[in-house]
Symmetry: C2
Subunit: 398 residues, 2 copies
């Protein structure tokens, strides 16, 4: 909606840059207090994350486990303070300010690298490089399989990833991203933090890949943008949602954005900035607030973003209650297939006993699977190009 | 050299196709006799291998461990009969016809997948997909490090690889091939058996990578050829030797080349052809000889190829004997660094005892390495972008 000039003049809500600076400030403060952690990535990717969570992500902080929420995977798990800051600002109940103050402390929810807890908004344990980006195709495949079973009314969401150069260097990223391209998993959107900095210095020390060409070779849609240009970020994500391919958005960012001497340097990657550098960064960012202090208008703006899809969540819940598939959907989500499996396994066992023949394990495995697959719709499987040897064909059938 | 029409008319030496058919026949016969193995790949890649070993590979069957030989790695190790047939035909003493007849039998040298034995011409254990192609950058890096130390007179060779789609699917191929491109290891030439067939059927079932684009993204030189066109194979390898990048040659081949019903089909991949199909294949190929029978003129042509670089081996040996680096070179090849290491370790230990201070293991490790690296030229190492944490900088320094 276009604002009138008059409305714009009187709009005192904080702009996106200020909202992003709240992430930066919390990340710097938490790492400084813990005297351990990675401030550089959250500072570099704060602008991208702000656009993603205020304009695209479908979720409701009050219902973090809403099944049809969009998924967010922080593959660059070392930048965990980006995610914790977001979850606090968005109003996730479990992610309190005290949790942020206890960053990297025993028994806190704010581990050095994210640990899965959907009820707190953390979809995936990440940290080992490559793990997050390689799990995304699994999330996206699950979404499409469920969509095929239950339709757009109940299953219609996206998987967003923030990944780093280290994720893309890992071999597993090749296997998973090539498969995502092969399967045309267009609901994956990866924001690649293309900051050109690794731990030892510039990435050019050890890494020359033409990432655009590489992902095009996997049949992904690839864009390159300035990761500090809010309009460009918004355009790129909007475009990514229109293609029929998985998307990679190369976000050129400055690691440690705002730090007076450590911006664009590996020195902001994996250590606290130090008191003087932190003070200088806040000054550069125009952030005049104390440690862990978020002014009310900024917090309000974030909290509004935290429930921007609440209406969609309500409508979805109404659709579910009216659906004839209500019970089946909830059972599938619960993942309890014991009742379905038990009679099948009993029948197969009876048959084996009746046959009373010696057989190779792979053969009996295949016989059991033949019976289980039609009965258990949640079963997804296959063999890695060894169907004839392991007797485990791929399913569900496309 | 252009042959005169008259010479060509009177040249009765077998042509390349006949020499390649000798590989095909031995591969079919050995797999049939073992009733186990992979005939399809050797039949498909026989033409490429024939050009490589008769026109390019630098080696001497009588001196299989000549240090400056070219290296050949069969990354597609399931096609092991290709390599065993070659080694027998070329005259490697250990690889007798009896070994071929004992393919896949206990205590034979002809294991289902190649097992390293340089004295028999096998440079590398392969079979697990991705292993061979990912070891090639190590071979090529070692060659360049030794070349930098000892010069062209003593170290000047190439690393050739035959790889399959399965090798390129593996994640490790991404890590190793990206590194090869980054380090500009131009002495790697990979022949990719681009036959479009995997175990379960066409590769398109599970694999859509644009391999050319992918390897160009790693800054490799990439060519595509008909893998049954001898002139094209020769031109491609010759070109690959002129570029300053690692090379991938996509060889479009027909798996099971010559088999009447199983050519271009996954059915020729991993099982014996069967008597009727084998007979039909030999007929199609114009191969009129019995099982394991190689006519004298064909064997002679191969044996000539087996010592085509013998003169270069002699000249190299003469250069080594005249070299002032003779002893140092042989010591480096022997890989025995105990004498060099012992005094360094003793001195460092003394220092630690004298200092009598508690220190982190990574710190003392770094201190030991600081002393060892200048003393032991054979040491190659580094950290995976964690120099500051593990105190293990990369060496040798470029």
């Amino acid at each position: 909606m276009a604002q009138t000039a008059s409305a714009a003049q009187h709009d005192t809500s904080p702009d996106l840059k200020t909202m992003a600076n709240a992430i930066r400030a919390l990340a710097m403060d938490a790492v400084e207090k813990a005297n351990s952690g990675h401030p550089g990535m959250p500072m570099g990717m704060a602008d991208v994350a702000t656009v993603l969570f205020t304009k695209f992500m479908k979720f409701d902080h009050a219902h973090p486990e809403w099944p049809d929420r969009d998924r967010f995977i922080l593959s660059a798990g070392h930048g965990s303070m980006l995610q914790y800051a977001l979850l606090y600002l968005l109003g996730y109940e479990k992610m309190t300010l005290d949790q942020l103050k206890n960053f990297r402390q025993l028994h806190s929810l704010t581990a050095g690298h994210p640990e899965v807890m959907p009820s707190a908004g953390i979809e995936m344990t990440t940290g080992p490089l490559g793990q997050g980006i390689s799990t995304a195709p699994g999330f996206a495949l699950a979404e499409r399989i469920l969509n095929a079973r239950f339709g757009d009314d109940l299953v219609d969401h996206w998987t967003y990833v923030i990944a780093s150069d280290g994720d893309l260097m890992e071999g597993i990223s090749h296997e998973a991203c090539a498969l995502a391209g092969h399967l045309k998993l267009s609901r994956i959107i990866v924001m690649y933090d293309d900051n050109g900095i690794s731990i030892d210095g510039p990435t050019s020390l050890s890494y020359s890949d033409d990432v655009t060409k590489r992902f095009e070779s996997y049949h992904w849609d690839v864009q390159s943008i300035d990761g500090h240009d809010f309009a460009a970020i918004e355009r790129a994500i909007a475009h990514a949602k229109t293609t029929d391919k998985p998307s990679l958005i190369r976000c050129k960012t400055k690691i440690g954005y705002g730090a007076p001497t450590k911006e664009n340097s590996s020195s902001s990657h994996g250590s606290p900035l130090g008191a003087a550098e932190l003070e200088g960064a806040k000054k550069n960012l125009g952030w005049t607030h104390g440690a862990f202090e978020i002014p009310e208008d900024v917090l309000n703006a974030w909290r509004m973003a935290g429930c921007r899809s609440a209406g969609m969540c309500e409508e979805w819940t109404a659709r579910l209650h009216k659906s004839t598939r209500h019970d089946e959907f909830l059972a599938a989500m619960a993942g309890d297939v014991s009742k379905v499996i038990a009679p099948v396994v009993r029948d197969v066992k009876k048959q084996f006993v009746a046959d009373n023949k010696a057989a190779a394990t792979r053969k009996t495995s295949g016989q059991v699977l033949e019976k289980l697959v039609p009965a258990v719709k949640e079963l997804v499987g296959g063999s890695a190009d060894l169907t004839g040897s392991v007797l485990t064909p791929a399913w569900p059938r496309s």
